[in-house]
Symmetry: C2
Subunit: 156 residues, 2 copies
């Protein structure tokens, strides 16, 4: 195991794997609930790798996935670069304060076949034993609004 | 194991894990060699997840990593969305013909702290038992030019 890069220390509270459940809403789709698993790992370099998968809470079939890297800047600022199988990439910037990471997109881009997403806000925060994750999204021509929120417990 | 989505059939030759070695060059850095491992996986949906890691061939220390999703379009066209811990995201479009995927970036974006990369071309092709991977890159104000090439053998 590599030693954690000092610049990643403010994100150490995220490291490991977490599993839980969440709910999603958006005006263009039906409400849904899901099982979620995320991991935050490091290799001793100044970033934290993030991977996420969700499954339908009823059928167990895969729903969403995403992968990316958190890049702490050493002054409380954090960047997140993110990719999604829906053909979307995101660049986000924000802050880490205590056990709370808040990020807003500076760029969201999609391939020719991707649905139009124009902005996101993301928050990851730990209270007690619980990792909370939420995403607000501007998509399909609509304004930025709440999309998903989940609660997860540490696996490792 | 989910059944492969029909649209992914042209990419079935990539599925699994591969390991090998490569070499890198660029005018702004010293030549380097590396050990590489990649995986291509699917969950029954119309995309193939891609993950890659490289290590220094001498020291074993981690060098590069990237993650993304290949999105075959059903007509020989393929999209690739990609994220790198260096703070860069890429959207690429191209084709799959036989065992040869050739892609060129339509967008390359970086966070505020990322090095300036403006374009890439990527190729993945299998000849016999060998997966070849190459990347050309326009970065640091230079024109698109060869950057890395590797040869890998199937692990699974």
């Amino acid at each position: 195991m590599a030693e954690l890069h000092p610049v990643c220390a403010p994100l150490a509270f995220l490291l490991g794997s977490w599993r839980g459940t969440g709910t999603g809403v958006y005006p263009t789709i039906e409400d849904f609930s899901y099982a979620e698993e995320v991991s935050f790992t490091h290799v001793g370099k100044p970033f934290v790798a993030y991977a996420q998968k969700t499954k339908d809470a009823d059928t167990g079939l895969p729903l969403h996935a995403e992968a990316g890297y958190l890049r702490p800047q050493g002054d409380g600022r954090v960047e997140l670069v993110l990719v999604q199988p829906s053909g979307i990439v995101e660049l986000l910037e924000g802050t880490v304060e205590g056990s709370d990471v808040q990020l807003a997109s500076t760029e969201v881009l999609g391939t020719g076949s991707a649905k139009p997403v124009t902005a996101t806000e993301r928050r990851l925060w730990v209270e007690g034993e619980v990792l909370h994750s939420s995403v607000a999204m501007a998509a399909m021509g609509l304004e930025l609004q709440h999309h998903v929120v989940s609660e997860m417990y540490r696996l490792s």
